[in-house]
């Protein structure tokens, strides 16, 4: 669906990155429209502004590489090849969604493109990815695992434990830290002692800090990390310095929090990764891509809204992989009290 150019052995072209980023941007803008119109309840954690990290990452990975994402994952899912219509249907809680409406925006997964899940518990996806990577290493082949998290995750004990395990056991995993400078409202400067890359370096994991607003720089760094993992050389940690243009969550449009200096936001918006990448391709090509993305996203909206909502009777379906039934919340009455029908 989207570009995963290296999967077919071809190096991605500038327009490939642009197309993916444009898709992510328009997808989320349309998702926010659907939140306003009530088609999507609760809201989303938008990744607008951070598209270059997803586009650069997705361009390196194959569908059979495994990813554990986080709560701000639409971009990573789309870049890894998730169908926009099925992802949007998931956000809208439809049974045609990638997780049949059970995961929503918060917990999306799409096994068909290797996205195993997205934990809401910040930082806790990292040990999942390390375990998945270890399983891949035990199987034949050169598949790798990728863990995507934000700067808020780097102070979680379980994540740091997973760095130790990954390094100790040379697990083929790439840690992708999307440092957007804020854990909800908490700035990195007030939450991270030492440095973000220093955490990985302490465990002997090669670490780089890279400009996350340029998809081609992201791509080059991910290529290095994935190559190490595929070659059996163990984990790599990559910090991508980026910025979310929107709030932590769409509910911020109502709460009107003021934790970022408007000048800071404007400064980062001036570095919009889409503008950067648009400047690298011919105007006519960009217009054709935009039109194609628009058609894709509108088709996705139509697909999502046409999907059926789950039936009430199915609420307990999928609780267990083994299919064991769970009791309902209201007890049956004692047999002798039941009125015959």
């Amino acid at each position: 669906m989207t570009n995963t150019p290296s999967a077919d052995g071809r190096a991605p072209r500038p327009e490939d990155f642009y197309r993916t980023m444009r898709l992510i941007r328009r997808f989320e803008e349309r998702a926010m429209d659907l939140i306003r119109s009530g088609e999507i309840i609760s809201g989303i954690h938008p990744c607008i502004g951070q598209e270059a990290v997803a586009a650069g990452t997705g361009a390196v990975l194959r569908h059979d590489d495994l990813m554990l994402a986080n709560h701000r994952a639409h971009g990573q899912l789309l870049a890894k090849g998730c169908e926009p219509g099925r992802l949007l249907a998931e956000l809208a809680g439809r049974t045609t969604g990638i997780a049949r409406g059970r995961g929503g925006s918060f917990h999306p997964s799409d096994f068909s493109v290797g996205v195993l899940g997205s934990t809401g518990s910040v930082g806790h996806g990292a040990p999942l990815a390390v375990g998945a990577g270890w399983a891949l290493a035990r199987a034949a082949g050169d598949r790798v695992a990728v863990s995507v998290f934000g700067d808020g995750a780097v102070n979680q004990g379980a994540l740091l434990e997973s760095f130790n395990l990954a390094a100790l056991w040379r697990v083929p995993v790439v840690f992708v830290c999307e440092n957007n400078l804020y854990a909800t409202t908490l700035p990195v400067a007030a939450s991270v002692a030492g440095s973000i890359t220093g955490r990985a370096e302490a465990f002997g994991i090669p670490a780089e800090s890279v400009d996350g607003m340029d998809p081609e720089l992201v791509y080059a760094a991910i290529v290095r990390g994935v190559a190490r993992a595929r070659a059996g050389q163990g984990p790599t940690f990559l910090e991508f310095r980026t910025y979310r243009f929107e709030g932590h969550h769409t509910f911020e449009t109502k709460t009107r929090l003021r934790y970022r200096d408007p000048e800071e936001v404007a400064g980062w918006r001036a570095r919009d990764p889409l503008t950067l990448q648009a400047g690298r391709i011919p105007e006519g090509l960009r217009e054709r891509i935009d039109a194609g993305v628009e058609a894709t996203v509108e088709a996705a909206v139509r697909f999502a809204l046409a999907g059926p909502k789950p039936g009430l009777a199915d609420a307990r379906k999928y609780l267990y992989a083994s299919g064991v039934p769970a009791r309902p919340g209201v007890a049956a009455r004692p047999r002798e009290e039941r009125t015959p029908r």
Binding site: G103, L128, A158, Y318, L319, Y320, S322, A332
Partner: protein, 337 residues
Amino acid sequence: MTKLSYTRALNLALAAEMERDPAVFVLGEDVRHALTNVTAGLFDRFGPERIMQTPLSEQGVTSFATGAAMAGLRPVIEYQIPFLLMLVFEQIANQANKFSLMSGGQARVPVTYLLPAAGWRLGWGAQDSDEPYSLFAHYGVKTVVPATPSDAFGLLVSAIRDDDPVAVFAPAGSLAMREDLAPGDLVPVPLGTGLIHRVGHDVTVVAIGHLVYDALVVAGQLEDQVSIEVFDPRTLYPFDWEGLASSLAKTGRLIVIDDSNRTCGMAAEILATAAEEMHLLAPPRRITRPDGAILGFAPELDLAMQPDRRQLADAVLEVIKGGQSAPPAARPGPLRA
């Protein structure tokens, strides 16, 4: 016939499943040298990739297993101390056990959490003597508590083969138990099936884990006065409600002896379900640890918190006296006042 110990039964189950399925592997602290004896001989037989000695990083290791399971393996994690399962409650209850639903059925997380010394051990003090199985059942994590060596074998095998996370609590009080077994006696025991250890017709005593032995002793002591049926649920979640209902259809009287704390413990759920849905002639009783039990070190303080045979015998005699026609004022008061 050989005398098989409980720990040896766990060891045989692990070895058999590792032999049968190359996806099965063990993670844990000190498993290479088999501190608990559960993995004795397995490192030499299966090597370091399948008997993985881990650092003291329980949260990381627990989610590592979840990730490995989602990618196709079948991990068994050994924990040495009961409360470690609370340290990783997030990883088990909020992650491993939720991925099946959150993924709309895409994910399978076949991880077994093996706790080979759950609950009370005399002299282990406040922090290492808990029995947190009720919390796992409350959260819908499949939870088994084998009382006997043959059930330890059969339930561990079924837990490993199950496609969902399963917590296996091996009560410390059962570890010393041995059982006369013929070779064919070691078979898988399906999750969710209870076992009647002793048939009776006056009162059903539901006993969990090592308390099955106490219930059997009391049933023997009182056999001239009352006929006690000893029902061992074996799996706490999913519970064998049909098995319990069948027993109560016969006896109409219920006592639960459970090594949980009283509030929201497993006994509370069993009593509530029986009261809501089953045939009862008299108010049921439970024998548990006190509310919020924290064991003091001195043996006297420690034992004062444990459900015991005297309490069970008293409860049996009280419940036998109670009946449907008895007015509320005549009901026996709290046993532990």
